[in-house]
Symmetry: C2
Subunit: 246 residues, 2 copies
């Protein structure tokens, strides 16, 4: 009844125990060692097997429930969710996503300036009336294929963009290196027709459908650190996500 997934714990590691368990359980699910519909658990026995308290074991399982890999049912147990898994989108940039997928993204910085933002941007970033922002416009490609046209606004006190080579690194990675800890992003995804100039840049015809995303990102102090509006070629990009009801 116990498909022993053989979990190893290292109590001297700085990695939390619940996370060690979650990692190894996830691995077992992704490799198929734990198949769709299979039951793990119960929590009490698992905890005892591993020499953990039940709350710690529960926390480990909760991580995978939140990722949509496991479902819990009271009185029944915990089971592996069916279906192929795709990685959830987190607070990553397109650049990060492409790198992870083994692609070689290329970025051309079209514009980079310090400007006075318009009212909408100032409101999104909650800036004072006289505050200035970095204005950044980039075109991202994979190989010879244009993929996305990106516009971003950043408060000038968040990061000094002039000191960064944005052709060689993603914006989010640059922000992280500057010590910004991004915690929350609020985004809206829709679609629209490509305008003429934009269509030329993306190698599409005017009026072609574009996938659009606008996002405001907040750091670990709750401060808005970035606002951006992006346009993607829909035949080359899509947004995947997992929703979990608790």
């Amino acid at each position: 009844m116990h498909p022993h997934t053989h979990i190893t714990l290292d109590r001297s590691s700085p990695v939390p125990l619940y996370f060690q368990v979650a990692e190894q359980l996830e691995e077992a699910i992704l490799t198929g060692t734990l198949g769709a519909g299979e039951r793990i658990g119960n929590e009490v026995a698992l905890a005892a097997d591993l020499g953990l308290s039940r709350p710690t074991m529960r926390q480990a399982i909760q991580v995978l429930v939140d990722k949509g890999l496991l479902v819990r049912k009271r009185g029944v147990g915990t089971q592996v969710v069916a279906g192929r898994v795709h990685r959830p989108l987190g607070l990553t940039s397109l650049y990060d996503d492409l790198m992870k997928a083994g692609q070689r993204p290329r970025t051309v910085v079209l514009k980079m300036d310090v400007v006075y933002p318009d009212d909408q941007v100032r409101a999104e970033l909650r800036l004072a009336d006289d505050a200035q922002v970095w204005y950044l416009e980039r075109l991202r490609s994979v190989g010879s294929d244009p993929l996305a046209h990106m516009t971003n606004y950043l408060p000038t006190d968040v990061v000094d963009l002039a000191a960064v080579d944005l052709g060689e690194t993603g914006l989010y990675e640059a922000m992280r290196r500057a010590g910004v800890v991004m915690r929350v992003g609020r985004q809206r995804i829709s679609a629209r027709r490509a305008e003429a100039a934009e269509a030329r840049m993306l190698g599409e015809s005017e009026g072609a459908p574009l996938l659009t995303m606008e996002r405001t990102t907040y750091d670990d102090a709750g401060r808005a650190v970035e606002y951006g509006t992006h346009a993607y070629r829909p035949d080359r990009y899509s947004f995947e996500s997992t929703l979990v009801d608790r």
Copy 2:
């Protein structure tokens, strides 16, 4: 130092204590009683004030951290995230969303049949080779404006669609009433050109951009219960979501 948000607990209520606290904290944030950037906490003191244990108080705060309303920073405290809040998308249908927004959606069922699914649908739903599914095609409008063209496939043993008036209720609501507990949804959002027939239905011109979503939903036993591909008029609809890094 304590912006006393006056939280009331009812220990005789079946609503969990952590949830009662989370609800009232969220209310305080949404109404502005707790303003952007304001610190709540600390966990120990809050727990003591309310006569709760610290883990319970922590769980309450975690709910709002997961919703992107609060950010925690070790050594500092817990603060309210800046910016306007929009409700996250959960496992709801377009119908539910519209109803909540006070709209009056109208649904026309274009087709409803039991069919043998093609390979892709069979794979998404993890069905046996000889299994049949409900095939459902609907057009949803608000007022006189067409909004979305929706196609769904459901295993026949999940719910009997013939017994439901889908003009009067959303598909997800109908599934819930049939005892289906949906727990996980995996979706992909992109865009494409409207085809001729589709454009006519949606009141758009051929080639107009459409926002597309395909989603597979799983129940509390990890079983695929629904697969759908939808097309929305992008000037009338967009997907909003909140991402949280932990």
